[in-house]
Amino acid sequence: MNYLTIKLACGAIATIGLYTMLYRENKVYRVFEHMFLGLASGYSVVAIWTDVLKSSWWDKMVGSATSTGEPATMGFWPYALLLPIGLMGYFVFSKKHNWVSRIPIGILIGLYSGQQFQAWLDQYGGQIVGTFKPVVPNNWTFFAPYVDPQNLQQVSDVKHTVYISTALSNLIFVFTVLSVVSYFIFSFEPKPGSRISRFWTGMASSGRWLLMIGFGALFGTTVMMRFALLIDRMYYVWVEFLYKAILHH
């Protein structure tokens, strides 16, 4: 039995061990669960030092020497100040001095908040612009004609023409955006019984329905993803391990 087979066998046994939970709560499941947590934690601790702290902090702080002994990079000792700032975070466990932990937390929150203004615009700016869609056709053909994808001029012409079907599609899109947004406006209440009130209620109600449809689609994709995870595990156990590694197909 070679190394690859042993590796695959360990994975297959762990997979089956974790799936025993489906029968009922049992010790085999607990063993593999704890093993997984231990491995993940152990690996993370080592990787954080080797991948992160050493290269990004320690090496830059102490500098490095070439094989001739000459310094290749100078040490940047102000980085040493980061250590006490980081350690202040652990004062969160002290009842008497937990105020100290607020200093690094405050620094982090300040840095994060500063970024968020620009981040929000970068994320949603494009989407807001994308909601401005033409809802009046400029060509009274219902569907866009088929064009040769190689003919870039034709492709571009079709892309920039609003056919009736395109306009309808855009109209549904714009209506969805407006109705969903109106569902979330709580600070304004029109006079009960008025026309505006009826219109508002209708829009908000449509928004709720459309949101439910959206959530349904999201739920469907969530289920699909969970199935994909199961299928992959089955592929691992039956095909990669049993069929290929053990039976040598």
Binding site: S55, V129, F227
Partner: protein, 304 residues
């Protein structure tokens, strides 16, 4: 006092199907189609077509930055996406740098996957992709928000000090790699392709604006991320097993005027998993229908 016995009828039977029996059926539905060679018909989504077209339009020697945040927990979707991506890049001879801000295990998982794919591609007549020379792994960065912003603002500064392993050599600074030759700012990379099952996709939207973005996400994330593709913020998007199947379909058979990808295209994870996914979804639909019919029959009081 004796317990009141539940009246036996079809409605009760449909609603009381044993849970473990259902699990068994699910395991069978997820397993049996894996041993068949059925390939389902497919019409790729526009998101996937654009993703593929953008990648194959790259020229040999172009550089791409990859954010890889997946680990073995999402191998079904992200693993298939990553494999298709690397195969395309290798065949187009595009060099790439890889980093992770989502999971500390991700660089190791990516390193193993790239090595396996590179060997496989070399065995099929493609160039053998060598670490450090053709691709470089910059490692894990714990603060996703800060690091992603740093990559956008000063890509060389963000990766300085990181080391990777050339073949049979001691670790060297990643900036010495041929991948980083000519890279001064992030826009020198043709694309940033992010393979992620986590919220790093949102963080990347928010902070990277100086190069074009393409994402490979899970099925759950696809619905939301499609909005970014529709608004033009993303140049291409691959979502879940369907996205992988789209890529593999275009790679092996081509689509409309798009020719297949030159080289040996064997069925990948998307092609293998898609029939099983349909079997599982079929079972789910049956179970939902059976449960609802059972409830309706019980309420009507119809005896079996």
């Amino acid at each position: 006092m004796s317990k009141p016995t539940k009246e036996f009828n079809l409605g009760n039977l449909l609603q009381a199907f044993p849970r473990r029996g259902l699990f068994l059926l699910l395991f069978l539905a997820a397993t049996l189609p894996l041993f068949t060679t059925v390939t389902l018909p497919n019409k790729p989504w526009d998101d996937s077509i654009d993703f593929y077209k953008n990648l194959v339009a790259l020229q040999p020697g172009d550089k791409v930055l990859i954010g890889s945040d997946w680990t073995l927990g999402t191998r079904a979707e992200s693993g298939g996406e990553f494999e298709a991506l690397i195969r395309i890049l290798i065949r187009r001879q595009v060099k790439f740098a890889l980093y992770s801000t989502g999971d500390v295990q991700a660089p190791l998982v990516a390193r193993d996957a790239i090595a396996t794919i590179a060997k496989d591609e070399a065995a099929n007549g493609q160039k053998l992709y060598k670490p450090f020379e053709d691709y470089v792994i910059c490692g894990f960065f714990p603060n996703s928000e800060g690091e992603t912003l740093a990559i956008n603002n000063n890509v060389r500064g963000a990766f300085s000090g990181r080391k990777d392993y050339p073949e049979n050599g001691p670790p060297q600074d990643v900036l010495q790699s041929p991948v980083f030759q000519g890279i001064r700012k992030i826009s020198d990379f043709k694309y940033l392709v992010l393979v992620t099952p986590s919220n790093t996709e949102r963080i990347t939207f928010q902070r990277v604006k100086d190069t074009k973005l393409m994402f490979m996400v899970t099925g759950v994330m696809f619905v939301e991320d499609h909005n970014y593709y529709a608004s033009g913020q993303l140049k291409g998007l691959i979502g879940g097993v369907k996205g992988v199947f789209d890529l593999e379909t275009i790679m092996s058979k081509g689509y409309e005027s798009i020719p297949p990808l030159p080289g040996k295209n064997e069925p990948g994870r998307g092609t293998k998993y898609y029939p099983a996914l349909h079997a599982c979804l079929g079972l789910l639909l049956l179970a939902v229908i059976a449960g609802n019919v059972g409830m309706w029959l019980s309420r009507k009081g119809v005896k079996s």
